[in-house]
Symmetry: C2
Subunit: 223 residues, 2 copies
DNA sequence: CTACCGGACAAACCTATGTATAGGTCGCGC
DNA sequence: GCGCGACCTATACATAGGTTTGTCCGGTAG
């Protein structure tokens, strides 16, 4: 939280959104770039799927504007490649000759919009705004969870065992019995866990474990 | 000893899925009905949006197969009417003369599939199976949360105040200070709350409050 | 008026949790 | 071998959590 923003050129406020364009038609790239820049969005344009896969994934909220017909691989291939690489930038497809099954497929695999040429400027801007908003939200959650996860990974195996049992609602003595330990041992571990995880209360701990999605035993909310 | 509100679940036949068809073309209704029945699905067919809105929402996992062009209102109207009525049955649209914007609109508002006539039987069955699976999952979550919610609503105002503060991680004395009470009072309420909510541990309580989505103070997971 | 309920509190008592101090064993890397 | 970290335990003490029994008050439904 203490890192000063190393803004090189402009006052890149903390989360200046960026639009990534992939289209093999240079005039299309230019037109889109102009459109987005006219409303103050940063833009990066690519001519092929390969090019963008080499670039590093953006660190700010962003979205992808993608012609579905690309040289080499189709937009779909890029979409699934990104998914495999665990990159979840929202995608807006554009197409000249799309059909309904194609649209359904794109939307089902998570595209945020699917526009047909000629694309109306306003439609495109609306779609981009929605996409960026979604990405911003996703990044926020991801970020919180990432902190918790890295702390969890800093725990020893034993500490994790105990964390999970404690967060599932067992008393120290029950945890001890479960693991064949003395109660005092569990207490000591518990203290270590609270410190390492940065939890101020048991409630915090429970929420962290929930956020990590770990609840093997019988720890779900009941009816 | 136990004042646990007993969930009045009328144990219906376990979870016989049902497919709801809305199409103004009788021959289409018949064809779809036969198709679904041939794989052992229960079916109910309607000739118009109005008809199905009068029927009571199904109590088992289900899905809606909906021609987008209906007499009177369009499939979209029905979709949004259902959404307004808080009915979230997954919808599969079928259309003879659809276009891409229509498809996008349907998918964006939550349709699970969008099929074009002539519909291949296997596509339809796949779509229905996916839709019913989704509905089953949704119902499961909904059901758990509904139980918790109804118990929460059985709490007095004071009990709710205290529940929220306790679940946010405050100690009894802090809760007492916050509300201008004696610590002993908080303890007593706390016991009542545990009983009424059917929570065996603080961890349970925290999870319930999370499931209800109540966390006003500073109770979110931190980075 | 009275009975009942929810809210608030107290003393007494017990259990659970948390911390400090003070150990002990093991395995691993240098 | 030595140090280090993980793992495990014990005693002792302090604080937090939780129940029981009983008291008091105010509103309100009968």
């Amino acid at each position: 939280m203490t890192d000063l923003p190393k803004a090189a050129t402009a006052r890149t406020s903390v989360d200046d959104a960026i639009v990534l364009i992939v289209d093999d038609d240079p005039s299309m790239r230019r037109a889109l770039t102009n459109l987005f820049q006219s409303v103050g969005l940063r833009v990066e344009a690519f001519g092929s799927a390969a090019e963008i896969m080499e670039a590093k994934p953006p660190a700010v909220p962003s979205c992808l504007v993608l012609d579905i017909r690309l040289p080499g691989s189709s937009g779909f291939d890029l979409q699934s490649d990104l998914a495999k690489a665990n990159i979840h930038t929202p995608i807006i497809f554009i197409t000249g000759h799309g059909d309904i099954p194609m649209t359904v497929r794109a939307m089902k695999s998570g595209a945020i919009d699917f526009l047909t040429k000629p694309v109306r400027d306003q439609d495109m801007l609306d779609a981009v705004q929605a996409a960026i908003e979604r990405d911003r939200r996703r990044r926020n959650i991801e970020e919180s969870v990432a902190g918790v996860r890295s702390r969890f990974e800093g725990l020893s195996a034993r500490q994790r065992d105990i964390l999970i049992l404690v967060a599932s609602g067992l008393m120290n003595k029950q945890v001890a019995a479960e693991l064949g330990l003395a109660e005092i041992t569990v207490k000591i571990y518990r203290g270590q866990i609270m410190r390492k995880m940065g939890a101020k209360s048991l409630a915090d701990l429970v929420r962290m474990v929930e956020a990590l999605g770990i609840s093997r035993p019988g720890g779900k909310v009941q009816t």
